[in-house]
Structures are given as C-alpha cells and as structure tokens.
Amino acid sequence: MAEVTGTGRVKRGMAEMLKGGVIMDVVNADQAKIAEDAGAVAVMALERVPADIRAQGGVARMSDPDMIEKIQAAVSIPVMAKARIGHFVEARVLESLGVDYIDESEVLTPADYENHIDKFDFTVPFVCGATNLGEALRRINEGAAMIRSKGEAGTGDVSNAMQHMRKIGGEIRRLSSLREDELYVAAKELQAPYDLVKEVAQTGKLPVVLFTAGGIATPADAALMMSMGADGVFIGSGIFKSGNPAQRAAACVKATTFWDDPKVIADASRGLGEAMVGINVADLPAPHRLAERGW
C-alpha cells in the first residue's frame, strides 16, 4: 500500500480544512495559546507583526527557528510561517522544521524581484497573496495550494483587502460570462495560463481555497470579508496590537462563523476596548505599500 505525500489533493485539502476559520499572527508561545483558546484554526508564527515591520523598517526575513519550534510545542493547531518571496532556502528551512503551511509573503522583504518559489518542488503546501485574478492564477501555476487577498498588511485599514476581493470576484464573474473562444484573449489579458483560466470560467471559482488578509481589525471587518466570498480570514496585527487580544480574537472567530447574522456580530463587537490605531492606506507613500510587492 503506497503512501504518497505532498500531492495536490493533500496540499489543497489542508486548506479546505481551514475554511470558515480565522488564522492569527503570533510572535510567541503565549500569544499562540491565546489564539488557540480563542478558536483560531491555525497560527502564523512570525517575529514581528506587520504593524511593527512597518514601524521599525529595515529588511524583514524568516523568523528564528527556535521561536517557531516553541510555538509548535505550545499549540496543537496547525502552525504556519512566512518566507520571503523567491527565497527557496528559507522555505526549505521552514519545511525541515515541519511547519504546516508556508506563506510566501509580501510582508517580508522580497528576495527575488522576478521569480517566485517553485512550490511544486516542496512537500509542504504554500499560500500566496494576490491582488487580482491573474496574480492568483500565476501563483497557482507555480504550485500555490491556497490564495489570500493581500490587502495592506499592518494598517488596520480594510479598504485594500476589500478592493482585492472585489477585483478577484469580479474577474471570475466576467470569465464565466465569456464565450469559450474568447478565453484565449482573456488568458492573455490576465497573463495567466489558459488551462487555469478555462477551469475558472467553467467552475466560477478559484481551484484553491481563497482567504482574505491585510488590514482586518474588527469582527465586522472579518464578517465583511466572508460576505465578499472569502473562505476564511487571516488577522495579523489586528488582534495583538489591540487593547484586549483574547476577547478580540474570540470575537473575530464568532463573527467569521456567523458572518451573515448582524445580531451575533453586534454581540461579538461589544466592549472589546481599543482596536489597533491603524494607518489610512491613502496616507502611505507608495514605496511603503506592501501589496504592490509580488507580480
């Protein structure tokens, strides 16, 4: 009986199990436990949350393996970690640590401004960011088993995530309305492989799970993203940069499950204390916008 690891079904299937859930950024074992207790479906282990990367500047890299292993030891839920775009050695290191998913992330400083990682070459699955359908399909073509909208990480401003979800959804709906002989040009315009374009046109959805990320800070933000068709939500700085992380984390989990019930969202939103202060994306000079990294 041959057991095969790292297949497309096993990689994409892992993301299916996270659907309807919240994945939270954590920087140490204590935060990871708070996230697990609040009902997170997974944690993203990283040294600095995006808001701090933004504030402190400099080059942002893969986290210390010691720190990742401490978080793996602290919780029983899946542990994800970030590698720089194109940095396949960081990805190999993370794979050797046994992380459950790698985020090839624009939040870290890219290591390669032309190529992303060849993700088919790994047993561990990858999630990648996208701002539009073409970008999502290019990442899937390189082996990404899960896609997330990029949003603008570390701001607490949900407007970019909203824009990316509308863009991806809109482009999928447009493809579904085209004649089959128009898909060749559509593939050219999207700069995406024809086979994937055709698949999306036929099924009306991405071939992998689509989460949303970047700027989500409140239960209502999480529910808004679910209403836009997200399969689940990443919350980065929004929880542990707020006044009461444990309560806010649990509230965001509730609102993600009952995204279509305003009463539940209202209850979850009560008395949460200070939300992260946040930055308006419009006030960020273009070179500091993370969503524009990756291509």
Partner: protein
C-alpha cells in the same frame, strides 16, 4: 432522509456535495432549530478544537451531545472522528468531544502536514476494490470497545470504525470524489438505525 452537516467550521460544502450525490437531502446546520430538524448529522473535517469551542459558545454543544447519545445517526471525518471519540489523546487542555463512539483517538497521530498522504486502502463494506483515501494531519484510533467494529486500517492503526449508529473515518472521502463512505453511512448506518426507531 434529511442529513445535516455541522457548519461551524471546516469543509462543509464538500460533505454536502457528497451527500447530494448519494441522493439524500443535505443541509448546513449551525443553530439549535436547524440541528433539531435533521434525521442524521455529519461532522466535517476541520479543526476539532475550533468546532467544539464554537459549539459551546453558540449553545449547541449539549444538544448535539444529547441527540447523538439518543441514537441520531452520525458520521465524522477526521476532526469529526475526534469529536465523536469518548477519549482524545494529545488533546488541547480542556478540549471536549460530543462522544458517541466508544473509541480512544490520537490527534495528529500520522504527523504534521508534511506527513499528510494519500493511499489506496481496503474498506470492509462488502464490496471489492481499493478506495483512495486522503489523510490530512489525520488522527488514528488507539482503542475500541466491544461495541465498535473496525472497517479499515493503515499500518495496523484503525482509520475507519463504526458502532450501531455512528461511523468515523480518519480520512476525507469528501475530498477524493469516491462516495462509497457516504453511501455506506446512509445505507448501512443511518437507514437501518432510523427504521428501527420507527
């Protein structure tokens, strides 16, 4: 027969599609009224700690536990198997299950995601032919009581088990496009159990 899929978190849609392919009415259920309205229940794959916690937060934990205890037919895949186990090893501190199957389950027993795998296994439903099974951070069964029958094993670890009214698998038939497990649940577990009640 109306079958509910518990829709607090996890791969709900895939289970609904598999059930519909088997010709039964399938609905996502989250609220007490919805859970009370179904004849049988499926606990999907997902994160067992999240699902059990949300069931408590939204006040349906006891209802589900009671309905399973009183003989509602139930099937759980992966996280669903953990939620049906009377005893969980390597659990999160304080993690609760609904119970209903007298088994001891070890969480993430096959390892982390890099160890997740597909394999062809034999399933004792009376038909011949191997079944493609997808294991994702999967649990296995360490101990069963006399009331529990083992239907499939991998490396001598049970990965599919049943009692009179409950079925559980470590793997995800909802992902592999093979509807033998869902069909088995409906025809061999749920239908006989419901007819007996009538």
């Amino acid at each position: 027969m109306k079958v509910g899929v518990l829709a607090l978190q996890g791969d709900v849609r895939e289970h609904i599609n598999s059930l519909i392919d088997c010709g039964v009415e399938a609905v996502a259920v989250r609220r007490a009224g919805e859970i009370k309205s179904v004849d049988a229940l499926v606990l999907p794959g997902g994160e067992s700690t999240t699902i059990s916690q949300l069931s408590e937060v939204f006040g349906v934990y006891q209802l589900i536990k009671d309905r399973i205890a009183s003989g509602m037919p139930v099937y759980g895949s992966c996280a669903g198997m953990i939620l049906l186990a009377e005893e969980i090893l390597d659990a999160k501190v304080g993690q609760k299950s609904f119970g209903g199957l007298e088994i001891t389950v070890r969480r993430n027993a096959f390892g982390r995601q890099v160890d997740s795998f597909e394999s062809d296994i034999e399933f004792a439903d009376g038909s011949t032919g191997l079944m493609r099974a997808v294991f994702i951070r999967a649990p296995w069964v360490e101990k069963v009581s006399d009331s529990v029958q083992i239907l499939a094993s991998v490396d001598s670890h049970p990965v599919a088990v049943r009692s009179r009214t409950a079925l559980a698998t470590s793997f995800h038939p909802e992902l592999s496009g093979d509807d033998r497990i869902h069909r088995y649940f409906i025809e061999q577990v749920a239908r006989p159990a419901l007819e007996k009640v009538k």
